[in-house]
């Protein structure tokens, strides 16, 4: 069950290829053309409560471009069947399209081998896989797992469960008042008992971008394995897992303009080969008998059961879309919006921005004195502005900054300065209601 490379496919009409051809034929962009990008996202034309939708919640989940929607439609209407082991044409087509996505994902993150790309439900499942499988193999009583204070609950709880099972100890690298990872404290906590370091590439609630390459280098010096939670980074910058040097990199499709229900665990072959299977079932075996079962090769060893086939194929199209956008241009544009948005909010003396890291992604978390984020969110919604309010699945971050919740505007490549102006006007309305 080797992944099928595009050259081996025997059909010229695969899901999404019509649209992808359009994408590829376009001239590469020199400057970022947001008007053109917005035309690719049909939902952005929606009217909410009488106002044009201002979607500032892409850190929770990003919207989908037409090409991804069309890929799903083409697959379900023309190519749908279960994959792997089908001897009929339809199954071959579906398998080829699904495995082609794996190849695209390998290229996207510059993994060495396609077999190092494991399809899962998302970042959460990817981290749970490592906590279970690597944990079972390598973590025991007295060992230490190192995470940071800014982790999403999905990069905390799987390790707590592992520690409860094994008697290992969870250690937390503190963050400073700007929301920065304190590297000196990290170095103090690293030691011979550190088995694994799990850190987010970009914080979802603070925007902090962590020095993952340096974090990985130091962990490796101590012999620890490194997992990077890439959920927030993947749609906003070029990721090169070999340059970072990490052992695992986890991310979700829905945050990178792909469908929900599919995500990826990248793992270095050397370590994945040693790890035991996590879930048992169809597709992950070589032979099954009641006396004993042998397991499939990578990546299928970790892919029990029928996967989200359409999701995987749609994700492949999302990768095409991202590659076409040029992530360097995207990063520059989003950073411009971040500075603009922080400038606008900075004009309100009532507003405190939480998360002031020097290197920051396009996330603005803020609180207003005396007004609960939930009330801010409801009032903004009336103006068609979608932001997220609450603890953002980072309760320890909320405790660290002494707030029960924050309001968070998160920016993606389809947002505009006009939308941030609308946010600022919405905040003026919030203040009018409450003052």
């Amino acid at each position: 069950m080797k992944p099928v490379s595009p050259s081996t496919r025997n059909d010229d009409r695969l899901p999404g290829t019509g649209k992808q051809a359009d994408l590829v034929s376009r001239e590469p962009q020199q400057t970022f053309d947001v008007a053109r990008v917005r035309r690719d996202f049909p939902i952005l034309k929606t009217i909410i409560n009488g106002h044009p939708l201002t979607f500032l919640d892409s850190a929770a989940s990003a919207q989908k471009p037409s090409c991804v929607l069309e890929a799903l439609n083409v697959f379900y209407t023309g190519c749908y069947s279960n994959i792997h082991r089908g001897v009929y044409a339809l199954s071959e087509r579906a398998t080829a399209a699904y495995e082609e996505s794996r190849v695209k994902l390998r290229t996207l993150i510059n993994a060495k081998e396609t077999e190092e790309i494991i399809f899962l439900r998302g970042t959460t499942e990817a981290i749970n896989l490592v906590a279970n499988s690597f944990g079972q193999m390598a973590v025991g009583e007295g060992d230490e797992i190192l995470i940071s204070h800014m982790e999403h609950h999905s990069n905390i709880v799987p390790w707590q469960l592992l520690c409860e099972r094994t008697g290992a100890k969870l250690m937390v690298v503190p963050i400073d008042d700007d929301g920065e990872f304190i590297f000196e404290e990290y170095e103090k906590l690293l030691g011979p008992r550190t088995k694994l370091v799990a850190v987010t590439h970009q914080s979802n609630s603070l925007g902090t971008v962590n020095p993952v390459k340096e974090i990985t280098r130091r962990a490796h010096e101590e012999g620890a394995v490194v997992l990077i939670d890439g959920a927030q980074a993947i749609a906003h910058k070029k990721i090169d897992v070999r340059d970072i040097g990490c052992d695992f990199y986890a991310f979700s499709g829905h945050k990178m303009f792909g469908p929900t229900g599919v995500g990826v665990l990248y793992g270095r072959r050397e370590i994945l080969e040693k790890m035991p299977p996590w879930q048992g079932g169809g597709d992950m075996i070589r032979t099954v008998s009641f006396e004993g079962t042998t397991y499939a090769d990578l990546p299928h060893k970790f892919e029990a059961g029928t996967p989200d086939i359409a999701g995987g194929i749609g994700l492949g199209t999302a990768v095409d879309y991202l590659s076409h956008l040029d992530l360097d241009l995207v990063g520059g544009y989003e950073h411009e919006l971040l500075s603009y948005g922080e400038g606008l909010l900075g004009e309100f003396p009532e507003i405190r921005i939480i998360g002031r890291a020097k290197e920051k992604s396009a996330v603005i978390s803020f609180v207003i004195d005396g007004i609960h984020p939930h009330d801010i969110g409801t009032i903004l919604d009336k103006e068609g502005i979608a932001i997220r309010t609450g603890h953002h699945c980072t309760q320890p971050v909320m405790h660290r900054f002494g707030v029960p919740a924050t309001a968070r505007a998160s920016i993606a490549c389809y947002n505009t300065k006009e939308e941030l102006d609308r946010l600022a006007r919405g905040i003026r309305t919030v203040l009018e209601v409450f003052c």
């Binding site: 609960h372 939930h374 009330d375």
Partner: protein, 150 residues
């Protein structure tokens, strides 16, 4: 803005900003904790009884304007009510926000609490308004453990 004024009525804004009976009762007969994991709101209700009459209710905690105002007005309206009357109010309040909209609510029975009728148009905020009531219901029933909206 008119929709917003339905939700954020002056009296709600006032109680949200300056909650009444916002303190603990030392040695309270009963207390219960309510938690809305969605927004992180958490409040503790303190209850002092005299026989089956609510002598005093107070609360503490952090919440949005709606949940704070709801808790504040609840503490005022319940003082002097019997447990049975308090439970009846809980039921009426709950029905006003979650029941069949075509059925006219008992405005007379609810008294000042009708200011919360506008919350009904904001489904995700209904739990904010009902959290204090679920919590006092639990305290009146003398149930252990925290109440959660989820």
């Amino acid at each position: 803005m008119s929709d917003l004024r339905d939700l954020y009525q002056e009296v709600i804004l006032d109680h949200g900003k300056n909650p009444r009976n916002f303190h603990r009762i030392e040695g309270a007969d009963r207390q219960a904790v309510g938690h809305n994991p969605l927004c992180g709101d958490k409040l503790t209700i303190f209850l002092q009884l005299e026989g089956d009459v609510v002598k005093e209710v107070s609360f503490q905690g952090e919440g949005c304007a709606i949940s704070t105002a709801s808790a504040s007005m609840m503490t005022q309206i319940l003082a002097g009510k019997t447990i049975q009357e308090a439970e009846k109010l809980f039921q009426l309040f709950h029905e006003m926000l979650t029941g069949d909209p075509s059925v006219e609510g008992d405005a007379e029975g609810l008294g000042k609490l009708v200011v919360f009728a506008g919350v009904r148009q904001f489904p995700v905020r209904v739990k904010c308004a009902t959290l204090p009531w679920h919590t006092i219901h639990s305290a009146l029933q003398n149930k252990d453990g925290a109440v959660t909206t989820e």
